[in-house]
Every structure is written in structure tokens, then in C-alpha cells.
């Protein structure tokens, strides 16, 4: 990989002249995303309080922005962009599949246990 870095991000929308420049560019992008998260976290706009597939709109936005951040850290800081496709798939797909599986099972079960707490004959507020 040594001297060949792929220098464009956003599918070629922005192309940097050198690797160093790309690092600073990605830093600016990550800082903007973090700033958006912090501002939303402090003000929590009323508009985004609506529920969508079991969670607040705001929380979906946070999770989406986090995944965007994770993508750019992995692809540009860890140079995943420059690795061969097979190495990239081995690492990324394995984790994406297993983590989705784990999250689905645990959240499903957590929601069920929560329902038992609120709706069945179980007293916990005394």
C-alpha cells in the first residue's frame, strides 16, 4: 500500500492533493459532524421528538451520524480505503453481520422484558 493512497472522498466529490491534506480534510468533516451532534444533544429540537420504528427521530439521527463518523475513521484514518477488497470485506462484513445479529436479539428481548415490567402484574414502584 505504501505510497499509493486513494485521495478522493465522498465518491470523488472532493479530491485532495496529498495524503496529509486528506487527513486535515477528514478532520474538518468529523469535527463538523461532532458539532452537529453536540448542538442537537444540547437543544434537542421538539420537531425530532417524534417516534419512528420504536425510537425517537433524534436518536436515529445520532446513530446515523455515528456510523458516518465510524466510516471515515476506518476508511481514511485506518486506511481501509487502500486495503484490498478481500481484507476489507473480511473485517467489515464479519463485524457488521455479527453486530446486527447481537443488537437485534438483545433489543428485541429488552423490549419484551420492559413490556413485562410495565404491563403485567409486577409491582416495582413502591
Amino acid at each position: 500500500m505504501a505510497d499509493t493512497h486513494k485521495l478522493e472522498i465522498f465518491r470523488g466529490l472532493i479530491k485532495f492533493k496529498s495524503n496529509t491534506q486528506k487527513i486535515w480534510g477528514v478532520l474538518i468533516f468529523l469535527s463538523i459532524v461532532t458539532a452537529i451532534e453536540v448542538v442537537l444533544g444540547i437543544y434537542k429540537p421538539e420537531v425530532l421528538n417524534g417516534h419512528f420504528i420504536g425510537m425517537k427521530m433524534l436518536n436515529w439521527i445520532f446513530i446515523l451520524l455515528t456510523i458516518v463518523k465510524a466510516y471515515y475513521i476506518t476508511w481514511d484514518f485506518m486506511h481501509m480505503r487502500d486495503e484490498t477488497a478481500s481484507l476489507r470485506r473480511m473485517v467489515v462484513w464479519t463485524s457488521v453481520f455479527l453486530i446486527c445479529y447481537l443488537i437485534f436479539i438483545l433489543l428485541q428481548e429488552g423490549g419484551y422484558v420492559g413490556n413485562v415490567f410495565t404491563n403485567s402484574y409486577l409491582k416495582h414502584d413502591f
Binding site: 500500500m1 505504501a2 505510497d3 495524503n19 496529509t20 487527513i23 486535515w24 478532520l27 468529523l30 469535527s31 461532532t34 451532534e37 453536540v38 442537537l40 444533544g41 444540547i42 434537542k44 421528538n49 436518536n59 445520532f62 446513530i63 451520524l65 455515528t66 463518523k69 465510524a70 475513521i73 476506518t74 481514511d76 484514518f77 485506518m78 486506511h79 486495503e83 484490498t84 478481500s86 481484507l87 473480511m90 473485517v91 464479519t94 463485524s95 455479527l98 453486530i99 447481537l102 443488537i103 438483545l106 433489543l107 428481548e109 429488552g110 423490549g111 422484558v113 420492559g114 415490567f117 410495565t118 409491582k123 416495582h124 414502584d125 413502591f126
Partner: protein, 326 residues
């Protein structure tokens, strides 16, 4: 005979990858696989945190009410300090990737400087976390725990939190001290809270402008429900059991015990990773100074430890979201 044997041209070629399968050296590839397995460990932690969030969705504390402290400044500033910590970690990720880049160009002095800055960033992050833990363990306002294990907070009529020490009234109490000679010989008395429940109750009755804030979230506003004065009084008298100050693994003044447990385990495990990262960075830093990689003609070790360091940053991005934002 020769005609029956199918010759595929692969004899003696059981391993076709050579020294660098997938164009990545052994060390780098194994670092990637280690990161993969470590990512699964962290997602196990975070997913079980999600489980408890869904289980206790009504009574889970709101992060903005808990993490409000900024060093050297009094008052409520939710998010500011964690945002600072996130920024520090991202910055140190940047200096790390700059060090890797300088390493590729065989630039010893630049690699040294960037490695040094990375280490400093890591240390700032660790001290911030130590501060965060200290304020979390110490607590600020104190709370009352109910028989059912819920937490009750106190607010004034404007909705600002009121500390127990501001209204509790000392009461005459009579209690036998537990000593090893008159009680269980192998255990000491538990640590006492600054006030007893009766002192808090007496103070609450004497101050008409203090209300109870329950641990239940009002879905319409997204805040915890504040009761009226009459309801507050019955709530405290009938349900209150003991006083909780600060946080440990058994009680905490913020919410269900699991909240503090996850806080300690997840941020603690992450902090442990950061400490190990700082240690590895220091080792590599000295190797760079000594010229080890100059002689080896490759700065790949910087790249490997860089991968680990970025991973630590990556995990923090998720911890930040799920602990402080969602």
C-alpha cells in the same frame, strides 16, 4: 496412467499468498483481526447496555441531567465536557495518522513529534476521564431511594435540582454502632450517608417550595415527571426508604444501579484500552527516537500501533453516542 490423472497445476502450491497475503503484512493483518474481535467485545457491552435501556426505558436517567460538570466552572453545562473529550481523542487520532504518514516518508523527526503529540492527547483524555469518574462517584445533589429501588430527586418550584444538604434538618437519632466485638466479626459497619432518611423527610416537610422529581420520564416532554406538593409529600412518605449519595456498584443517585454499573464497565474498559494504547505509543515513540525503524528501513510498527489507536477512537465515538447522546 497419465491420462487418467487430472493435472490442475496446483501441486506444491498449498499457500499462494506468499509473504503478504491480501497485500498486507502478517502483523498488520493480525492487528486487523484483533481489532475485529475487540470490536465484537465492545459491541457485546454496548448491546447489553441497549438491552437494559429497553428494559428500563421509563426510569433510565437522562444523560444531560447526569453529566453536567466542567472542571473549574460551576453550574450546569451538559455535553460540553464530553464534546471536549471526543475532540481530544479525534485530534490525537489525526496526529497519529500524520505520524504514520511521516513514517511512510521515512521522516524520523516528524514521526517523533507526531507520536509525542499523540501520547499527550491520550494522557489528556485519560485525565478527563478520571475527572469524569470522580464527579460521578462523588455525586452532587444526593437522592432518596424507594422501597422498590427507584430514585427520587428534589427540585425547587422552578425545576432546579436541590441538594439534600440544603434542606435536611438534623434529627435526634439513637443507633447502636456495629463493632467487630459486638456484631459480625468479619465485617465492618457500612459507610453512613451524611443524612438519614428521617432528616430528609423532616426538612422536606418544613420547606414548602421543594418538590419531588420522580424517575419516570414524561413521554410528551422528554423530561422526568415533577409531582405537585401534595403528591410529593405522599410519594416521599410512603415510598422513601434510604438516602443515596454519589455512585457505587450497588446504589447510585442517578437511576437504576445498572446505569452506574454500565458506566463503570464500558467507560472503564474503554479507558483501559486507552491506557494500553498510550503505553504502546510510548514504546514505539522511544523506538522511533532510538532509530530502530530507521535501521529496519520501515516504519510499519507505527502503522500497526496507529491502527489500534484509531480503533480506540472509533469505540469512543460509539460510547459517546450511546452514553451521552441517545
Amino acid at each position: 496412467m497419465d491420462t487418467t490423472v487430472v493435472n490442475t497445476g496446483t501441486e506444491g502450491k498449498t499457500w499462494g499468498g506468499g509473504n503478504k497475503p491480501l497485500k498486507a503484512s502478517y502483523g498488520k493483518m493480525m492487528m486487523w483481526f484483533f481489532i475485529l474481535s475487540d470490536a465484537l467485545t465492545f459491541s457485546g457491552f454496548l448491546a447489553s447496555y441497549g438491552f437494559s435501556r429497553f428494559k428500563f426505558s421509563e426510569i433510565w436517567p437522562i444523560a444531560d441531567d447526569v453529566f453536567t460538570h466542567v472542571p473549574f466552572i460551576h453550574g450546569d453545562y451538559p455535553m460540553i465536557f464530553v464534546a471536549f473529550m471526543t475532540f481530544i481523542l479525534i485530534m490525537s487520532s489525526v496526529t497519529m495518522v500524520l505520524a504514520v504518514d511521516a513514517g511512510h516518508k521515512m521522516d524520523k523527526s516528524k514521526t517523533t513529534i507526531y507520536m509525542f503529540l499523540t501520547i499527550i492527547g491520550g494522557l489528556i483524555f485519560l485525565s478527563s476521564q478520571a475527572y469524569e469518574w470522580t464527579t460521578f462517584i462523588k455525586g452532587e445533589y444526593g437522592a432518596v431511594e424507594t422501597h422498590g429501588g427507584n430514585i427520587i430527586h428534589f427540585v425547587d418550584t422552578d425545576g432546579n435540582r436541590v441538594a439534600l444538604k440544603d434542606f435536611a434538618i438534623a434529627q435526634p437519632t439513637d443507633r447502636a454502632q456495629h463493632e467487630r466485638k459486638n456484631g459480625i466479626w468479619y465485617s465492618d459497619e457500612k459507610k453512613l450517608t451524611s443524612f438519614t432518611f428521617n432528616e430528609v423527610l423532616a426538612g422536606f416537610k418544613a420547606n414548602d417550595d421543594i418538590l419531588v422529581k420522580t424517575t419516570y420520564t414524561d413521554n410528551a416532554t422528554g423530561h422526568k415527571t415533577v409531582l405537585s406538593r401534595a403528591e410529593s409529600l405522599t410519594e416521599l412518605e410512603t415510598k422513601g426508604k434510604n438516602v443515596v449519595e454519589g455512585a457505587n456498584l450497588v446504589h447510585n443517585e442517578y437511576g437504576p444501579p445498572l446505569f452506574a454499573n454500565y458506566f463503570f464497565f464500558i467507560t472503564g474498559f474503554h479507558g483501559f484500552h486507552v491506557s494500553i494504547g498510550v503505553l504502546l505509543n510510548i514504546i514505539i515513540f522511544f523506538n522511533v527516537i532510538l532509530g530502530t525503524y530507521e535501521k529496519r528501513n520501515s516504519y510499519e510498527m507505527v502503522e500497526k500501533v496507529g491502527l489500534y489507536w484509531h480503533f480506540v477512537d472509533l469505540v469512543w465515538v460509539f460510547v459517546f453516542t450511546f452514553f451521552y447522546l441517545v
